[in-house]
Symmetry: C2
Subunit: 206 residues, 2 copies
DNA sequence: CCGCATCCCCAAAGATACTG
DNA sequence: CAGTATCTTTGGGGATGCGG
């Protein structure tokens, strides 16, 4: 059953073509997961709650065929297979950044059925705050998720000598950065520096 | 039949949320069509060859609910209904621009089943060339499609006193801007200015 | 276990006919 | 012209199975 790729838009348009490649359901979220580095099949599935195993396999195949990701076998003694973004796949970062900024404006606080999957925090920190952050060392703590920002570069986990530490829950983080309201977070360190970061954050659309 | 919106990713992530809004099939292409200004239902369908009328209606409803587009009734004597992007919907332009630049790199020359729908030319001129164009007056002619660029702003149709005019077919335009090859296009006017535009264009990935 | 392939079922997309 | 109604087809969600 050699499948001919057929579900295309068939328009000579760079946007339509891009959507032919990463427009399928889950495809861009797979790329999002791999933005934090190479991952194994099972770890990918864990970061994409709700995806069917067959769908994940299909997307990985399609994205590999399209040259967006590559399968790599780690050297012994690990010897596990991981997926990683190609150089071309990495270039999706500006796309996802704009998409994240746009989405953040209508995101709203988390609801009860929103999943807080492992690694959820570092993505918006990297995509949204990173590019517009003033020089400085920020640390964000929500439950056992910790993400940091050093001069615009995002990291998973704590850092040494942070200028500011923001701790709270997901709701509090939303209120702080999007609605500029202090509610459910505790701040220690350079408050003025944090305010400069908040001022640069996206504005809510509503 | 009060539809409960249910096909969400259910992740607290700005990217996933953005895809909940504009990630459905055809949704972003509807927004692309409206980037060139308000359009009527039938004109939208014409610019989206292959879309079913029910799908178009469904997307328009969803996008309106999400606050991305708005339905407007033109003042008499026109009195026709048009759809237009809201301010928030207009903010999708940076997203589409990055997507277009990314897609252009793996687009390739047009194939036989690629449709050249009305208005196809102005989109890449606006999204891709516009932001990186040097000051100047460019005019592009492919068949009866004419798009222009004046100091980075794109227009449909010809302009007065163009510095450069590029005429040819879709394939020639692709070779010129992406592969930097002169094949199937004729150029008149300031060749050096055109070269500066070409130099800034996206590089092919292959 | 990890990395899928297979199967079944349903919801969304495609296609077309039809109506205010 | 601007959609709705209806039918068919396809792709995704979910569970399970199976080889390495």
């Amino acid at each position: 059953m050699i499948e001919r790729m057929a579900k295309h838009y068939d328009q000579y348009c760079p946007v339509a073509h891009a959507l032919d490649v990463v427009g399928d359901r889950w495809a861009l979220l797979v790329a999002r997961e791999l933005m934090q580095g190479p991952k194994r099949y099972t770890d990918l599935a864990e970061g994409l709650p709700g995806i069917g195993t067959n769908i994940l396999a299909a997307r990985l195949r399609d994205l590999e065929t399209a040259g967006v990701i590559a399968k790599k076998t780690l050297p012994p003694p690990a010897a596990s297979r991981v997926y990683e973004l190609t150089d071309y796949g990495l270039e999706l970062k500006p796309v996802m950044r704009e998409l994240a900024v746009w989405g953040a404006r209508s995101l709203g606080p988390p609801t009860t059925d929103d999943e807080l999957f492992p690694g959820w925090l570092v993505c918006p920190v990297d995509m949204i705050l990173g590019p517009l952050a003033p020089p400085g060392r920020f640390e964000f703590r929500v439950g056992d998720e910790i993400a940091s920002l050093v001069d615009g570069d995002a990291y998973t986990g704590p850092i040494d000598d942070p200028d500011v530490v923001v701790e709270g829950d997901a709701e509090g983080l939303y209120y702080l950065f999007i609605e500029r309201r202090l509610d459910g977070v505790s701040i220690s360190g350079d408050r003025a520096l944090l305010d400069r970061l908040i001022d640069a954050a996206p504005q809510p659309v509503a």
